[in-house]
């Protein structure tokens, strides 16, 4: 009889499985380290940016230079956040929520700075902020979010120098973001805010969105 095989196989499977999980964590931690270092760099960048903003305002540096700096930074953050989203949808063993929160904080800070710059320089650019849900299971809203994400991405791609695109998750449980959401009276999601005065929560075509951003000839549906 080989009935001990039942236990042997269980122990063997548990070992193989544990090794697999450890290897998985190791592989992921290498990825996470990269992400984390990018985040740390981003944080350094934004502190650098804040300092430069202060220097700019103190020394009356030109708005075009300030805008250029802001756009570079915002685009970089956008791309990094996209990379994070991609990693997060791959069935990871580890938790990336904390990284998401930091990115969302960073982007909220960026949004406030962009609005401040636009006001100070009477900016010739548009701020597209896109608010979405991070923890979503509803099929229809999920599809809508996917569409809004593509739409804002396409708009940004078409007008890289005229639009600053800042997506922010509304449900990462960060107190300052919660207050920010309330202050903007955002009650539904997904929603696109154009220059903090036009709210789009229903379907519009890319062309219509473009018109809403660049002129006031059509009204928001």
């Amino acid at each position: 009889m080989s009935k001990s095989a039942f236990w042997q196989a269980l122990i063997f499977t548990a070992i193989i499985f544990s090794l697999g999980v450890i290897a998985g964590f190791f592989l992921e931690s290498r990825q996470s380290e990269t992400i984390y270092s990018r985040l740390v760099n981003s944080e350094l960048n934004i502190i650098d940016e804040q300092l430069r903003q202060r220097i700019i305002s103190d020394s009356n540096l030109s708005c075009s230079l300030s805008k250029e700096s802001l756009f570079l930074f915002a685009d970089k953050i956008y791309e990094e956040a996209m990379g994070l989203e991609e990693i997060d949808t791959t069935g990871r063993l580890g938790d990336l929520t904390i990284l998401h929160r930091r990115y969302d904080l960073l982007r909220t800070l960026l949004l406030l700075e962009a609005e401040s710059l636009k006001e100070r320089c009477n900016g010739d650019f548009h701020i597209i902020s896109y608010f979405y849900s991070y923890n979503l299971d509803d099929v229809e809203t999920s599809s809508k979010q996917n569409y809004f994400s593509k739409q804002t991405f396409d708009l940004k791609t078409a007008h890289p120098q005229d639009i600053i695109l800042i997506p922010i998750a509304i449900d990462t449980n960060v107190a300052s973001i919660d207050v920010f959401i309330k202050s903007r009276k955002i009650t539904t999601y997904p929603v696109i805010l154009i220059d903090n005065n036009k709210e789009i929560s229903e379907f519009v075509t890319l062309e219509e969105l473009e018109k809403l951003v660049f002129n006031d000839t059509i009204s928001s549906p």
Partner: protein, 412 residues
């Protein structure tokens, strides 16, 4: 972070890895004893052959019995025809003329709709204490009987002996895949024998002690897999079944998908009937309640749950893709971005790959042991197809079988 679906996938991977590992752990210490069998003394045996419309195969089946390397004067062949519509009976009568006194023919008045009843008729008519049951489309190897008989003679607890059922014919692709499947099943069954967990004595060729069969009540005529049910019943009475890997029988396999599907539905309905009938013995009665019934039940649950989850996820994914595409077309945005093509390998992918490689090795070992490596039916493509496509069809069979079972509309 892992969500519910991913956790379920990990659980499935764990179970699959455990089952293959279990068989490997049973195999390794027993690898040199797999083909051993107790030496048997030739004694009189009645061979029962239920038959229904088997005119194309019965002659070959009878020839194989008549050419057994076993003293022919110790063999009695009883063909029980279940009211065939073809000329099976004429063929048998022809053999009776050529071999007078060797073959007996019993013709049922009406078709019973299964193999159990004609088998029981043959068993009651059998003259000898040892009885073999064989299908009319199966051909045991000449030395099968002599290799198997020793199991019944050396242990009073052994009431039944099965052998390696191998696929006969490989004309169609379905048959080629079944050649792999039958080889792996035979090997796995022998491994289960090593832990005293043989749960079936398949119809193509099995040997029994007649008095024990009569005592436990013969084959269940209501069960679609009477060859599984009888072993469970024998076990519930304290008897065991053994497996002789050294003995082989070749059995016709379904040529087309439709026939194969129908056969597998029947097997699964029969399995479900057994689970329901013996559910009270779960976690009791030795290996029957401790392993066989939980294994069957758990397999059924995992298959159904996995299929349900798969269908839910598939529908959800298709629906989301449909909506996203619809919105994108309406809105004039990009239909597909590079980011949508997620090419990041996950831990789950690695586990899946490990499991596939492990299962592949398992099949290769099985085919080698069954001496089936290098044959055209067992090429790499067919093995991959067997592992990925063929086995994936089982949950669909299960759910169809369960539906038919609960509707109560099932026949042989």
């Amino acid at each position: 972070m892992l969500n519910f679906v991913e956790l379920v996938f990990y659980t499935y991977l764990f179970v699959a890895l455990y089952m293959t590992s279990l068989l490997i752990f049973i195999w390794y210490p027993n690898r040199r004893r797999l083909f051993e069998h107790p030496k048997g003394e030739p004694v009189a045996v009645s061979i029962i052959m239920p038959c229904y419309n088997e005119s194309s195969t019965i002659a070959k089946a009878l020839d194989s019995l008549l050419n057994m390397k076993y003293p022919q004067d110790l063999i009695e062949i009883i063909v029980v025809d279940d009211k065939s519509n073809d000329n099976s009976v004429d063929i048998v009568r022809g053999y009776m003329g050529r071999y007078p006194g060797k073959i007996r023919l019993i013709v049922n008045d009406r078709n019973s709709g299964g193999a159990a009843q004609p088998t029981n008729i043959g068993l009651r008519a059998a003259k000898y204490d040892f009885v073999a049951v064989t299908d009319a489309d199966s051909t045991p190897e000449p030395d099968a009987l002599i290799k198997m008989i020793g199991f019944l003679q050396h242990d009073p607890k052994v009431a039944a002996v099965t052998c390696a059922v191998m696929a006969y014919g490989s004309k169609t692709f379905m048959q080629k895949i079944q050649t792999i499947e039958y080889s792996i099943i035979s090997w796995s069954r022998k491994l289960l024998d090593c832990v005293d967990a043989v749960y079936v004595t398949p119809g193509p060729f099995a040997l029994y002690k007649k008095d024990i069969l009569l005592r436990v009540g013969l084959f269940d005529t209501k069960n679609l897999t009477q060859d599984i049910e009888i072993v469970w019943r024998l076990r519930s009475y304290g008897y065991v079944a053994k497996m002789c890997l050294a003995a082989r029988v070749y059995s016709e396999t379904p040529r087309k998908f439709k026939q194969w599907w129908k056969q597998r539905i029947r097997w699964n309905i029969g399995g479900t009937q057994c689970i329901v009938k013996y559910k009270s013995l779960i976690f009791r009665n030795g290996m029957l309640g401790g392993f066989i019934i939980p294994f069957f039940s758990f397999s059924l649950f995992l298959g159904l749950f996995g299929l349900g989850l798969f269908i839910y996820l598939l529908i959800k994914r298709v629906f989301i893709k449909f909506l996203v595409t619809k919105y994108a077309i309406y809105g004039g945005t990009t239909l597909l971005r590079f980011q949508d093509l997620n090419i990041q390998p996950t831990v789950l992918n690695f586990f899946g790959l490990i499991l596939f490689v492990w299962a592949f090795i398992f099949v290769l070992i099985g085919l080698s042991i069954m001496n089936m490596r290098g044959k055209k039916e067992t090429n790499i493509f067919n093995i991959i197809y067997y592992l990925i496509v063929y086995l994936s069809m089982y949950p669909f069979i299960m759910i169809t079988a369960l539906y038919k079972y609960f509707r109560g509309k099932y026949t042989w």
